[in-house]
Structure formats: C-alpha cells, structure tokens
Amino acid sequence: MSQNPYHDDRGNKDASITKRHGVGEIPTRKGGKSRPAPGGPFLIGDAMTGGYGKGPDILHDCTVSVDRGEIAVIVGPNGAGKSTAMKAVFGMLDVRSGSVRLDGEDITALSPQDRVAKGMGFVPQNNNIFTSLSVEENLEMGAFIRRDDISGTMEQVFDLFPILREKRRQAAGELSGGQRQQVAVGRALMTRPKVLMLDEPTAGVSPIVMDELFDRIIEVARTGIPILMVEQNARQALEIADKGYVLVQGQNAYTGTGKELLADPEVRKSFLGG
C-alpha cells in the first residue's frame, strides 16, 4: 500500500484545503461476474488466502461459514485476522486463493458494491453510521438500493430498537455508543439483507448495553437472517453462537459449535481465561 506514491501526502495536515473526515479506505476494485456454484453452506469464505493490496498475506487458508438461521462467531486474540477475514468475505481485500460463495453462487470476483446488491449486509467496526445525518436518514440510506416502499422495514427496525423511534430526527452523531450501534445494525437491516455481517458490534459499549445488543442480535437471527460476526467478548459470543471459529494468525485454530468450543479445555485455557 505504501508503495503507491499517491498515498503520500507529505504530512499535510491543512484542513483548510483538504477534508480528511470520512475518506474512503475500501480499495477500488473492478468487479467481475459471479458464477453458479451450487451446494455448501449459505455463505462461506472457503480456504481464503490474502492480504491488503500488495502487502503480505494475512489470511492463510482461512475458512468461515454461516448457514440459514444460524449465528456464526469468529473469535481469537488481537491481530488474529478476525476483521480481515470478514473484510475478505465482503470483497474488501484481495483473496489470492480460495473462494467466497453465497447462496449457491461463487461471488469471489464481485466488488463490495455488487455484494451489497446480492443481499449482503455489513456493519463495520468503526465509523459505521452517518454522524451528520439524522437517525431516520441513516436508515433511508441503508435502504438506498431498494426502490420499493421502505416504511414497513423501517417500522420493523423501530420495533427492534424502540429508542431509535424516539430519536429519529436527531443527528446520529449525537447519540450514545450503544444507540449508535443500534443505528448501525438498523441501517444494515434496511436493505433486508440475506445475510448480516457484524464486525465487533459490542466494541466500546458498557456491559449492560452489551447484553441488550446480544439479545437484539439473537432476535434478528430468529427472523431467519444468518449472522456472521466477529467478537472481542469471546465467552458471551460463543454462548449464543451456533458455530464458532477460533482464528490464530490468520488460520483456523479451532472450529465447532459454540458449546463445544466453550467446553474445549484447550480453547478455554488459551482464549477464555481458564
């Protein structure tokens, strides 16, 4: 990445001529076409190897998947490549070998935009709301690709997160951490995604709010939307997970149901603190 001379601004910090707020980091990719690839789980990143730009590989033969009606959780130590695995599934970095398949289609070549259109919803870890837009506008923007009436879906989101109904006219940037996460998840739900991907939805919120968010996530999963998420709070996440992946240094270390992983003495010792 750093080899690109256009990424060097020679330390310019002059905000009176450039605006750094909200600059995009997702690399521009020419999207290819999807191919039919029947069978397998609903969404799977299969044996993915890759990294950012021309940099070294971060993922090595990493596999994550989620099936209909399931919650799959990716856990692991810091720097294990959890978020990177999510980004790879969403097409934000080059997958050099391996493939990503959604609902019987090979979508490895698709750009992130095309994946949104295919029905994938993604909630990034940081900067996951439009701070200067109102809550309602955030949700409208979530439904941007839809041309039909969105008021029904918005009602559903408001029913799921009642606090958002109250604050619908307020700028999303003025909300508390937990409320922001609700806006972020709500925005992603507005597309009526076929699968929802959450990157550390509980990062930086208080334990009480965290429990509440987990409850809501389970509720979303019950409506039939498969959820693939990365979590820092491994124990709690594995408790609600149908499927768990423990990544270490970009590789699958342990895989199993949430209960199995919680019961596994190795996993407990190394990741769950005994």
Binding site: Y6, S16, G22, G24, E25, I26, Q113, S132, M141, F144
Partner: protein, 336 residues
C-alpha cells in the same frame, strides 16, 4: 444633518452593490464548498470553471442577439444561461473522466487533488483565453436600470439618488431561487441525501449501495450549474474578463472558509460578509458622513480606508483572522 439622504446614499453606494456582489460570491462559494464537502479537496479551478461557463453563455448570447432573439427588458443572457450550464457540465464531466477519476481510483490523498486542480486551473485559463480572448467583453442588453438615480430624485425630492440596476435585482432573485433549490435538493431528495451520506462517510455509503461515481457525477453537475450562474451574474453586473474571474478565486475561497468549508449556509453568509467588508472598506464615506453628521463634524477628506485597488487585501485579512482565531469558520465547517 440629513439622515434620510445619508441612508439613500448608503444604499446606493454600499448596500445595493454589496448585496449583489455578495450573492455572486455566495453562489461561487457554494460550488467550492460542495466540492470540498463531497470530493474532499479545495478546487482551485473554480474561478476558471466560472469563466468557462460564462464564456459559453456569452457566445450563445451573441448568437441569439445576431439571430434577433431577445427577452425584452431582461438580458438575453438569461436565455443563453441553460446552454452555458450544459457546456460547463460537459467540461467538468470530461475533466473528471480524463483527470480526477484516475486519482480517485488510486485513492490518492486529497492534497494531491488540490495540486491537480491547480493544473486544471491553468489549462482552463488558457482554454478560455484561447477561445474568447483575454479582453473585456460586455454582453448585457435589455433595460439597464429598474430605477435610475434621476427618477428616484424626482420621485422623492431628495438630494441623493438611488439607482438599482436590472442586473442587481436579477442577481439577488436568481441567487435566492438557486439557493432554495439547492437546499431542497440536498435535504429532501434521495440523491441529495446520498450526496450528504457520501460526504459524511465514503466507505459506509459504498456499503449502503450508494454508487460513488454517481455521487461524484451529480456533484460536478451541480457545481457546474452553480459556477455558470455565478459567473454569468457577475459578468452581467460588471463585465467578463478571464483574468478577473481567476482573481475571484480569492474572495470566493475567503467566503467559503469564513463561513466554514463544507457548510452551504456558511458559504452564503461568508459571501455576504466578504462582499460587505470589501465594499465598506473601499468606499469613500465622505458623502454619507457629510449627510449624517452635524456640519461642524463633516469630514474634509474622502474617508476611504483603502483604495479599491487593494480590495483583495480585505479578503486576505479576513481569511487570515478567521484561520487564526476560528479555523472551523462561523458555521462550524469541517476544516478542523
């Protein structure tokens, strides 16, 4: 002492010209602020974009005049304005396709785009002079005044006259309409909201299915239209000269930064602040003060703080003061 005459003289020489000039600056600053807010760089080619749009309008106006098409009391340029906008839109879209898009795909840092826009500025500068020449061009026709100083004096019996040029009234009316339309577009329409969303967070806009290239295209189109309107109104009010338009860059940027870069309301407020400061500081107050003060206090000199040749110094000083003490501008723009 004669307050009424003082007020009339003040309106004639300061208020009316400053309001018209302020509207023109506001329209220019809106374009600058939109590019800063949405495309994230300061577009130094904006003055020359205005010149290009105005040039196309002038050429079409001349053709219409020769073909005998006119708008009666209103300037023919109003009829030619849509053609100027289209020409300017075409120019900016081609420039984007040929120049800016490459850097966008590279995810180039915004400061590189600033320098790129400077290159575009020089090219446009040359292009406009090559087509229409470096000289002063007049293209205003129709009724020159809504009310002349002499009519006003006869009507009111006052010593001072108040003249309002057609172009001045036209400028204010057009500016109000255009600004209202722009705000409605940005706050109420789907496309407008998607532009604000992209301005706020590029990546999340992409993840919401908003096509960035679309947003960029609409931004250039709106900016081209705004620049053409601003340029034509300025040209009608004064005259068209490519170099003057290049120089307009300074007051326009000063206006955008004073108001707060990225804030449309700020751009409008900034436009008026710069215009009023420029006009009041370079105006010779002798006449107004002569009317307003008792005879014993009436000034002997011109009471002109700065010669009009130094009007750019005013924008510069305001710009410096704002950047020193309130870098985010009056309306909390994004330059922090």
């Amino acid at each position: 002492m004669d307050l009424l005459n003082a007020i009339v003289a003040l309106s004639n020489f300061v208020l009316v010209p400053a309001i018209a000039y302020g509207s023109q600056l506001a329209l220019g600053a809106l374009g600058v602020t939109l590019i800063y807010g949405i495309l994230r760089f300061s577009n130094f080619a904006h003055g020359d974009t205005m010149a290009f749009g105005t040039m196309v309008t002038i050429l079409v106006t001349w053709w219409m005049q020769s073909a005998g098409i006119s708008l009666g009391p209103l300037p023919t340029a109003l009829l030619a304005l849509p053609f100027g906008m289209l020409g300017c839109i075409a120019l900016l879209l081609v420039t984007d396709r040929l120049v800016y898009r490459f850097y966008r795909e590279q995810k180039a840092k915004p400061v590189i785009l600033v320098i790129v826009s400077m290159g575009v500025m020089f090219i446009l500068n040359g292009l406009v002079r090559f087509i229409i020449g470096p000289d002063d061009q007049r293209f205003a026709d129709g009724e020159r005044f809504i009310i002349t100083a002499r009519d006003f004096k006869q009507m009111t019996g006052l010593e001072e006259g108040l003249a309002i040029k057609t172009t001045q009234a036209l400028t204010v009316v057009t500016a109000v309409l255009v600004v209202a339309l722009l705000f409605w577009f940005l706050n109420r329409t789907r496309t407008g909201k998607s532009m604000r969303a992209y301005s706020d967070n590029e990546d999340l806009a992409l993840l919401s299915g908003i096509n960035p290239e679309r947003v960029v295209m609409y931004t250039w189109m709106i900016v081209a239209a705004l620049a053409t309107v601003a340029g034509v109104l300025y040209g009608l009010d004064k005259s068209f000269k490519p170099f003057t338009y290049f120089q307009l860059l300074l007051p326009i940027f000063a206006a955008a930064i004073v108001g707060g870069l990225g804030s449309p309301i700020g751009a409008i407020a900034g436009g008026f602040i710069i215009a009023f400061s420029e006009v009041t500081i370079t105006y010779a107050w002798k006449k107004v003060l002569g009317h307003a003060l008792p005879e014993s206090l009436a000034p002997d000199g011109l009471v002109q703080l700065l010669s009009t040749d130094y009007k750019f110094a005013v924008s510069f000083v305001i710009l410096l003061i704002v950047l020193l003490f309130r870098p985010t501008g009056l309306f909390k723009g994004k330059s922090v």
